[in-house]
Amino acid sequence: MEPILSVDQLTKKYKDFTLDHISFQIPRGMIVGMIGENGAGKTTTLMSIFEMISPDSGQIRLFGKSWRENRKETLQKVGLVMDGLNQNPRLYCKDLDNIYRRIYKNWDSRLFYQYLERFSLPLNKKIKSFSKGMLVKLNFALALSYHPELLILDEATSGLDPVMRDEILELLQEFVMEEDHSVLISSHITSDLDKIADYILFLHQGKLQFLRSMEEIENNYGVLHCRKDFLQVLSPEDYEAYMPEDFSCKVLIRNKQALLGRFQDLVMERATLEDFMLFSTKGVLPCQD
């Protein structure tokens, strides 16, 4: 099956930042988490999909079609929840129902009101009376109510309490149970991605570091705490980066199975997504020794 989203050599240059030839594909039926430090280019990438910014070069294909030529048709099937991108506060939820059913062919009013009830959102109050968490829930209700095939979330769960975040994560997992549905979620809450993501896309300083499956990350990567002299024993191929501490080192091991085969007494922790981000920004790369 063709990928639901295909980005090829996407480039965007600003004065102090360049999104540098990003290429990746989002397969169908998967949740892909996008991680990266602030300013890595995550939002720039997502905004390019919606033509909120115009890339300098590159191709974006949605549902196998060029997004520029088929914008109207493809955006009928894409839902977006973006932190800070909220509805006009002077409107009511019923106004949004009337607006969206005129925009989206597959708009499902019944489903929308079901979500409003599920999220306990009031029908008779203007949106300006909603809290931040309520606004996020409303955005999810809107994005899910026209039966999209691709959901794109940009820091969508920030501002939600842990209980609500858990419910949203459950919703996302239900969403991808349809084999042709996918989710691309950009988030700093890496613990959420640890729970639900199938693939991780890691951006750093405008460059794509990797797109790997969570299974591969869990099986191959680990964090080793060791003495500094032990680092000399390791070869540069064994690790991605290390962070020196006062009397020891933390090392992000690249192929822990192979290393455990050589040093059977080693104790390694599971590498979390947060570890990847920390090592990429604060770590020392092997070639920098």
Partner: protein, 216 residues
């Protein structure tokens, strides 16, 4: 595009329905009841007050675009950029129907009560009011695409003040409007309608160019 048009109209209504309706009712009664016997009364209401009131919708929508990321949200909808711009024009022009309704009601009542002008002159005043409202609206929509909310608001205020100043000057010079009709009526209306149509085309072209160029 009906969803975008509906969104714009409902936004305008939710923004300022009561705060607009109350002064409209007060001015309506003032110009009809208190000042209705004067020749300037229907002219002021139809050629000045109502056009300035209904041509404010681009500013309201610009405020929604600027302060609540309305334009960014619009980019996520399944519409082309051409449709996003065109729908704004449609919704702002469609909103003039409110003014048209008030104009028709006012002029009908004024004619029945005072008969200050002939029916043809009342019709001419109505047509003039509609054209002025459309003209002001088309200019305001263009400025809302070209500038930010501050520029749009300042431009609207200046536009209204200039229109009011020109109108007051005309009142002081005590010119009978029928004396201005030196050209044959059909030609005069044709020129006026042509000016509004050309303004619309130029306004849309500039807005489209600016909007397309701003997504960078």
């Amino acid at each position: 595009m009906s969803g975008l048009i509906y969104r714009d109209i409902i936004t305008q209504i939710r923004y300022s329905f009561l705060s607009k309706l109350i002064p409209d009712i007060l001015f309506f009664l003032m110009f009809l009841v208190l000042l209705g016997k004067y020749r300037f009364s229907p002219l002021t209401m139809i050629l000045l007050y109502l056009p300035t009131q209904t041509s404010i919708i681009p500013i309201t929508l610009k405020d929604a675009d600027s302060n609540y990321k309305g334009r960014m949200l619009s980019m996520t909808f399944p519409f082309s950029k051409r449709e996003l711009v065109l729908s704004r024009y449609y919704s702002c022009c469609l909103y003039q129907l409110y003014g048209v309704g008030v104009m028709i009601l006012f002029l009908t009542l004024h004619f029945l009560i005072y008969r200050t002008y002939s029916p043809a002159a009342y019709l001419g005043i109505f047509a003039g009011g509609l054209l002025i409202a459309l003209f002001m609206t088309l200019i305001n929509v263009m400025v809302s695409f070209v500038g930010n909310i501050n520029l749009s608001t300042i431009f609207y205020i200046v536009f209204v003040l200039l229109a009011a100043a020109a109108y007051i000057l005309y009142l002081f010079l005590d010119i009978d409007p029928l004396d201005l009709l030196i050209l044959p009526l059909p030609l005069l209306w044709g020129i006026a309608a042509g000016i509004v149509a050309v303004t619309g085309i130029i306004s849309y072209s500039i807005s489209m160019k600016v909007f397309a160029g701003s997504c960078r």
